[in-house]
């Protein structure tokens, strides 16, 4: 996983609440066995009309936001399915940070596994950042994970909260599985206890 330390980039404003995972990446694009290549289908129905042509008014189709790496949205971003294709599509497009008042749990979790930083900030702050973002490439935001601040184009610093364990994994670009396997002895011990205490639990064998 790619580290996330500091990102200075154009931010795209998406002033919508309850952006669901079907909107981020419709189910018909989940028939892939790869993690990459989904960026072209990101926000498919918002981005393209029925003929497949770009809708010029959609934010990511506007010249100044085509290279945006930060996305700003409203409440409950990423609600719906557990599909990790949603963060994969965002990442493949180039988005490394999403700022919103809050996120749906599974999506929030999935972001961290892919080096995307979800930042929770109150609605009025998101509105102010969205106003900054409307200035396009002339108004780059900086997201500094080590100092836990978002820096507005006017230099104002906005602090944000983040789970320290997840922050550590992102800053170091660490793989979760590797982290957990450092506790393999504890897992072994738990399984010994499990076999004694819940010996009624059957093993699964198909056939």
């Amino acid at each position: 996983m790619e580290k996330f330390t500091t990102l200075t980039a154009t931010a795209a404003p998406l002033p919508l609440a309850n952006v669901d995972t079907d909107k981020i990446i419709p189910a018909r694009f989940l028939k892939t066995i790869r993690r990459t290549g989904l960026g072209v289908h990101l926000f498919d129905t918002l981005r393209y009309d029925a003929s497949g042509a770009e809708r010029p008014e959609f934010v990511l189709n506007r010249k100044e936001f085509r290279k945006a790496q930060i996305l700003i949205a409203f409440e409950n971003f990423g609600c719906g399915s557990s599909r990790e294709h949603a963060p994969w599509a965002l990442l493949d497009f180039g988005i490394r940070c999403i700022i919103a008042p809050d996120f749906a749990d599974i999506f929030h979790n999935n972001c961290f596994k892919n080096g995307i930083l979800p930042v929770r900030l109150p609605r009025p702050v998101c509105e102010a950042l969205m106003a900054d973002a409307q200035m396009g490439g002339n108004a780059r935001l900086t997201v500094d994970l080590s100092r836990q601040v978002v820096v507005r184009p006017n230099g104002e610093e906005i602090p944000f909260e983040i789970d320290p364990f997840r922050r550590h994994l992102l800053l170091e670009g660490l793989d979760d599985i590797g982290q957990t396997l450092q506790h393999a002895a504890a897992i072994d011990a738990y399984e010994v206890r499990l076999r004694a205490e819940r010996s009624w639990m059957p093993a699964i064998a198909a056939g």
């Binding site: 309850n18 028939k31 409950n76 719906g80 982290q179 504890a186 897992i187 819940r198």
Partner: protein, 468 residues
């Protein structure tokens, strides 16, 4: 004396392998259900890292999302869907994971077959790369959906890194009225707390109306917990639960079952257990529900009307309502019962169980699907289909003009050929009415199986109580 604990606390505590200094827990997973859409990249990750599946005997795979619901003996015509299913078959063979093949009678939607086969057990932790894993919470299991990276994590370590959720109690008092079902309860709950109402929480459903539900109804309620934003839904195991699990092929048998049941009976929340939030509903006040918008929280009684955005004070919400009405081609003030439908879908992990098909058949019996309406019934599993055929439900439904199909996720999300055409309106027993969910441009109204059957035979969003 020990602090009183909730059901969630008890299941959580019994699965903590290790608590890390910052409060993150390594949580042990008892059952891992795997399907074709969210697993290929996870197995690929294992392969690249040279890792194995730690507990194949705690894992089971089945294909459900992609597969056609027409005759499947000829294989899957759609190339990408076929590749995904073939990839699953290759992966389960390479990693020795138990697998239920597409042509096996036990094949079906992963959340239908887990409980049906006794794979899902009370007090256990169950995960799957699918948000509707919350279904299994109906048995008193802590069951939740995970992303593909976490699927890989569970395959490799049999654990997840998690922080404990907050406890939320949703108590439903009273008795459901005539024509009302578990689906109406859960739609009413989501309408009350909203699609983000459960974020960060595990919801425990309690109260006499929940106790009165059979296991199928409890699964319908827990299934849609994710539509309220909750991490999981739970219902305390009771004698209904224990009787349901007894004798299921993958459940413990004989003396082992008795020992298991003795532990399951200790799991209900202790008197005085603390909840971070409590919501109370009166089942007697719940009518048959139907959604009008493109979020499951946009729900009203079928006797109601489409709300007017002009009355919404919040500007962003008003704009969102307007967009929904435009997408759904509905007008403020329009009576829901006057809305005509083009399609009816009965099935999904929410409402694809035998009890759901019985409810639909009871309405369809002796009636005809309205002119111009396509109505399809997709059993949740091969075993549900067999049972329905043994009861003659297939004949009742087909005589009424419904299509009778093979098991799978089907038109709930339209990954297989079952989808709506742009602009088509569907009365659906599934769980999400998001834009394009059942096919690009398709319009979804969520409702119960009985209400869906009523829509099929009248051609509109009818009140099933008037058909009795």
């Amino acid at each position: 004396m020990a602090e009183p604990r909730t059901l969630f606390d008890k299941v959580w505590d019994s699965h903590v392998v290790e608590r890390l200094p910052d409060g993150t827990c390594i949580l042990y997973i008892d059952r891992h259900l795997v399907h074709e859409v969210t697993s290929p990249q996870a197995f690929e990750g294992l392969r690249l890292a040279g890792r194995r599946v730690r507990r194949p005997d705690a894992t089971i795979a089945v294909a459900d999302h992609n597969i056609p619901t027409s005759d499947r003996r000829a294989g899957i015509a759609e190339p990408e869907s076929r590749v995904q299913v073939e990839t699953l078959e290759r992966n389960v063979a390479e990693f020795n994971v138990p697998y239920i093949p597409v042509l096996d009678a036990r094949q079906g939607i992963v959340h239908i077959i887990g409980p049906e086969l006794g794979l899902s057990l009370p007090g256990s932790t169950i995960v799957c790369g699918d948000s509707h894993t919350s279904t299994h919470g109906a048995l008193g299991a802590l069951a939740f959906g995970i992303g593909t990276s976490e699927v890989e994590h569970v395959l490799a370590t049999q654990t997840l890194l998690q922080r404990p959720a907050k406890n939320m109690l949703v108590r439903v008092d009273g008795t459901l009225g005539f024509g009302c079902t578990a689906k109406d309860i859960v739609l009413a709950i989501i309408g009350t707390i909203g699609t983000a109402g459960g974020t960060g929480h595990v919801i425990e459903y309690a109260g006499v109306a929940i106790r009165a539900l059979d296991m199928a109804g409890r699964m319908t309620v827990c299934n849609m917990s994710i539509e309220a934003g909750a991490r999981a839904g739970l219902i305390a195991p009771d004698e209904t639960t224990i009787a349901y699990v007894a004798g299921k092929p993958f459940a413990p048998q004989g003396e082992a079952f008795d020992r298991a049941a003795a532990w399951w009976r200790t799991l209900p929340s202790d008197p005085g257990a603390r909840y971070d939030r409590t919501v109370v509903l009166d089942a007697g006040a719940i009518a048959p529900m139907v959604t009008w918008g493109t979020s499951p929280e946009t729900v009203v009684p079928v006797t109601g009307t489409v709300p007017d955005p002009a009355r919404e004070p919040d500007e962003a919400r008003r704009a969102q309502m307007q967009r929904m009405l435009e997408y759904m081609a509905l007008a403020p003030g329009q009576r829901l019962q006057d809305v005509t439908v083009d399609a009816v879908f009965i099935g999904s992990c929410t409402n694809g169980r035998i009890e759901d098909l019985r409810a639909a058949a009871a309405v369809a019996r002796g009636r005809r699907v309205a002119e111009g309406v396509r109505a399809m019934v997709v059993p949740g599993s091969g075993l549900v289909k067999q049972q329905a055929e043994a009861e003659g439900l297939d004949r009742i439904l087909m005589q009424a003009g419904f299509e009778w199909r093979e098991a799978g996720c089907s038109m709930c999300l339209g990954m297989n050929p079952d989808k709506l055409a742009p602009g088509q309106r569907c009365a659906s027993t599934s769980n999400r009415n998001f834009e394009g969910r059942q096919g690009p441009g398709g319009r979804t109204h969520l409702l119960s199986p009985a209400m869906a059957a009523a829509a099929a035979v009248t051609g509109r969003l009818a009140d099933v109580r008037e058909l009795a």
